[in-house]
């Protein structure tokens, strides 16, 4: 599976001490040759008979064939969700809905290794991440929301709460299972039924989740999963019978969806792109800040909407910090995502790889200096080394456009005001990072940064209790916490 590890810079090999060959076994995953759509509690064929392949991006080998849902199939799914809502889910007491959600959470915990391996195979992210981040968070998300299902009146006191009904949800390829959990758990906890469309390059963990949904005896039609690409997505967005829509993906597509939804007054939440500033003050705990910056942009190959993709380092320590950062990057291991020692996995698709490459070239043309470590990359598969662009200015395209890859652009600032000005000067507003040991400065910056999630002296931390979402063109609505429930209830009193 894949190629052997690229040489990294740690040089432990010089002593005959090598990491590697800690390859997680794929034997516990049973991938079917072909998958149908999951509608009304069962796997079914498409009316149109169309299908597509899903690849392992680290080898470009095909993993399976997945059915493409036609508009008719989407219609079938929505009608199943409606019937199930009216027949079962609407009448079910919250305590019982909770029981189903608890069961799903437990199954995710029990089959966690299997799901993690599948996630890595289908999407290219390192097994270390799918095992230690994606899976535990997904299970926790179901647990958290299970507990809310029979307590909603506490989150929204004195309101006559009602679910929307049938909810359409479209999720991206960067955290396929986790995004499914973020969408499904609150929707079900609040009493809605769902039609979910996973991303076309990463359908497999959603389809495995469908097996779990069957195993826990969830009433048929409460969750329906329609795999497909743009056409399937449009059919869902445009469907006249959905009562609410939730989308996570690019800002570009988000805007198209908003155009459609706003005409119909369709309740909508959007979680879109970002170009987060990662601000380092000179008095920060610098060794840890370096780790934070590394994690902020290279975690999940930088395929993260809230990635700290713009380093804003105080000019007085810029040379020191950048030099140390480059040395640290030399130690990152790019390679077989199934190897437990791998830090950076494969780029999710050819399209994404081309986009990253193109934008880095733009950056160089604009005048940035590029740094890439000396690691060698495997021959097959989609790979991009961790990259740093220095000498970047606010008006460069690479400082403004989301690259969505393992590429960090570096800018400097002199004072807190200047950091703030550069940080906020963007149409995006999803997240931001601040490193300083000065508490009052953290609060001062946090108060003024126009971003929905602010990490101080840490980065990329997620929790089901902590609301996540953006300002400005990074979207609206929150996921997680009490605030995240609001999107899935009518008459919630405005806490959204």
């Amino acid at each position: 599976m894949g190629t052997s590890n690229s040489k990294d810079g740690s040089g432990l090999e010089d002593f005959g001490i090598d990491y590697a060959s800690a390859i997680e076994s794929t034997s516990l995953v049973n991938i079917k040759d072909k998958y149908g759509l999951f509608i009304d509690g069962d796997f079914v064929d498409s009316s149109s008979g169309k299908s597509f392949k899903t690849l392992d991006p680290s080898t470009e080998k095909s993993l399976s064939v997945v059915t493409e849902a036609s508009p008719d199939d989407v219609d079938r799914a929505v009608r199943a969700a409606r019937a199930s809502y009216e027949k079962y889910w609407k009448k079910m007491p919250g305590a019982d809905r909770a029981r189903y959600l608890f069961r799903i959470a437990r199954h995710l915990q029990e089959r966690s290794r299997e799901f993690a391996v599948l996630e890595t195979l289908d999407g290219g992210k390192p097994i270390k991440e799918s095992r230690d981040v994606d899976l535990p968070l997904a299970a926790a998300h179901f647990f958290y929301h299970a507990g809310w299902a029979d307590k909603l009146e506490y989150a929204f006191p004195q309101r006559k709460l009602e679910p929307h009904g049938v909810v359409g949800q479209i999720i991206p390829w960067n955290f396929p299972l986790l995004m499914a959990a973020w969408k499904l758990a609150p929707a079900l906890a609040c009493g809605n039924t769902v039609v979910l469309k996973p991303a076309e390059t990463t359908p497999l963990t959603a389809l495995l989740l469908a097996e779990v949904i069957k195993d826990v005896d969830l009433p048929p039609g409460v969750i329906n999963i329609v795999t497909g690409a743009g056409e399937t997505g449009s059919a869902l967005v445009e469907h006249p019978e959905i009562d609410k829509l939730a989308f996570t993906g690019s800002t570009e597509v988000g805007k198209l969806i908003q155009r459609s939804a706003v005409k119909r007054n369709l309740p909508l939440t959007l979680e879109l792109g970002g170009k987060a500033p990662h601000i380092i003050f000179e008095d920060a705990a610098l060794d840890q800040a370096i780790e934070g910056v590394i994690n902020g942009i290279f975690f999940n190959q930088g395929h993260v909407c809230c990635a700290g993709s713009r380093l804003l380092v105080q000019e007085s320590i810029a040379d020191y910090f950048i030099d140390r950062l480059k040395k640290r990057i030399e130690l990152l291991r790019v390679g077989n995502p199934l190897d437990k020692n791998t830090d950076i996995g494969a780029i999710n698709s050819k399209t994404q790889l081309e986009r990253i490459d193109q934008l880095v070239k733009v950056g160089i043309e604009e005048g940035a200096d590029v740094f890439k470590p000396s690691c060698s990359l495997p021959e097959n598969g989609y790979w991009y080394p961790p990259t740093v662009l220095t000498g970047v200015q606010q008006s460069h395209r690479v400082a403004r456009e989301e690259i969505f890859g393992p590429v960090l652009v570096v800018q400097t600032f002199r004072t807190p005001e200047e950091a703030l000005e550069k940080a906020n000067n963007t149409p995006y507003g999803l997240s931001a990072g601040i490193w300083t040991e000065k508490g009052s400065l953290i609060h001062w910056m946090a108060e003024r940064l126009r971003a929905g999630v602010i990490w101080a002296n840490t980065f990329n931390k997620f929790d089901p209790t902590s609301p996540f979402g953006g300002y400005k063109e990074s979207g609206f609505g929150r996921e997680g916490g009490m605030h995240g429930l609001a999107a899935y209830l009518k008459n919630n009193g405005g806490r959204s």
Binding site: A98, F143, G147, W148, K151, M482
Partner: protein, 281 residues
């Protein structure tokens, strides 16, 4: 003819994760409705109470330091164990005189109540805490914290639902408890102790003393290392002037109706902490 004679169960105290007999060596008898002996149960003394408080105190900080998620998981798993021992509990309740249908109902309600409170572990601070808009450049937040060691007089009726209704809201936020359980309800209490002993709930978080309310209440109320007492389960005949000793260390004294699923039962055992921090460059 071997193995046909039932092995009768011994009911002892539950302190710090183990089942010791009372240091006093005393027991009291519990009979079934026909007047036949079910068991001789250990009768806790004030010294047992003292030991139980020590265990509860040492267990309190570590229990409160676990993440809310972890506590919720641990408590949820207790519910799973209760579910798997449902039949046993139904039979136990029947043996002390509860009719079959009511017993089943009570056990199912108890499990549901346990699940309900377990689900609050990572939510109550969101509902009860706040960020306060003080007039000045300060970040000001209020966060609830567990009060510490809580003494609980368990209601005698209903024996299972009554105890669980008091116990879980107290511990879900990180408090540890010493329960006093009287009469036939002591059988249920000890069995719940067995469930806890085989769960992931750390030793000392829940301690159960079977014995006489009147004997132990003054020690509970007067103990300076007990932060709060829940006296909802005291018998109506209790002389309420006994409660005055609670003022010796300004204990929080709570008395509420038994059959409630309510956030108030959690907040009864919370302290609100407010923190200020300047906002500035």
């Amino acid at each position: 003819m071997t193995g046909k004679i039932p092995i009768t169960k011994t009911y002892k105290l539950f302190i710090d994760g183990v089942f010791p007999r009372s240091e006093s060596g005393r027991t009291f008898s519990v009979n079934n409705p026909k007047g036949e002996l079910i068991a001789n149960v250990s009768q806790a003394s004030r010294k047992d109470f003292r030991e139980a408080v020590r265990a509860a105190r040492s267990a309190q900080r570590p229990w409160a330091s676990k993440t809310a998620y972890n506590r919720g998981q641990i408590l949820y798993r207790v519910a799973e164990i209760l579910e798997s021992r449902k039949t046993e509990f139904v039979e136990l309740l029947k043996s002390i005189g509860v009719d079959s249908k009511a017993a089943t109902r009570e056990v199912e309600d108890s499990i549901q109540r346990w699940v309900w409170y377990a689900g609050w572990s990572d939510k109550y601070s969101q509902v009860l805490g706040s960020v306060n808009p003080v007039s000045g450049p300060y970040f000001n937040f209020t966060v609830p914290e567990p009060t510490g060691v809580v003494g609980i007089i368990a209601p005698t009726e209903p024996s299972m639902l009554g105890l669980i209704s008091r116990l879980v809201p107290a511990i879900v936020s990180g408090n540890t408890v010493v329960v006093v359980s009287e009469g036939h309800s002591s059988l249920t209490s000890v069995t719940i102790g067995e469930v806890l002993a085989t769960s992931d709930v750390p030793a000392g978080v829940v301690n159960i003393l079977t014995g006489d309310q009147t004997d132990l209440l003054p020690w509970m109320v007067g103990h300076l290392d007990v932060n709060a007492v829940d006296i909802s389960g005291i018998s109506p005949k209790t002389d309420l002037t006994l409660l005055e000793e609670a003022a010796s260390n300004v204990k929080r004294v709570v008395a509420r109706q038994v059959n409630e699923e309510s956030l108030e039962l959690i907040s009864d055992f919370l302290e609100m902490k407010t923190v200020w921090h300047p906002i500035g460059k």
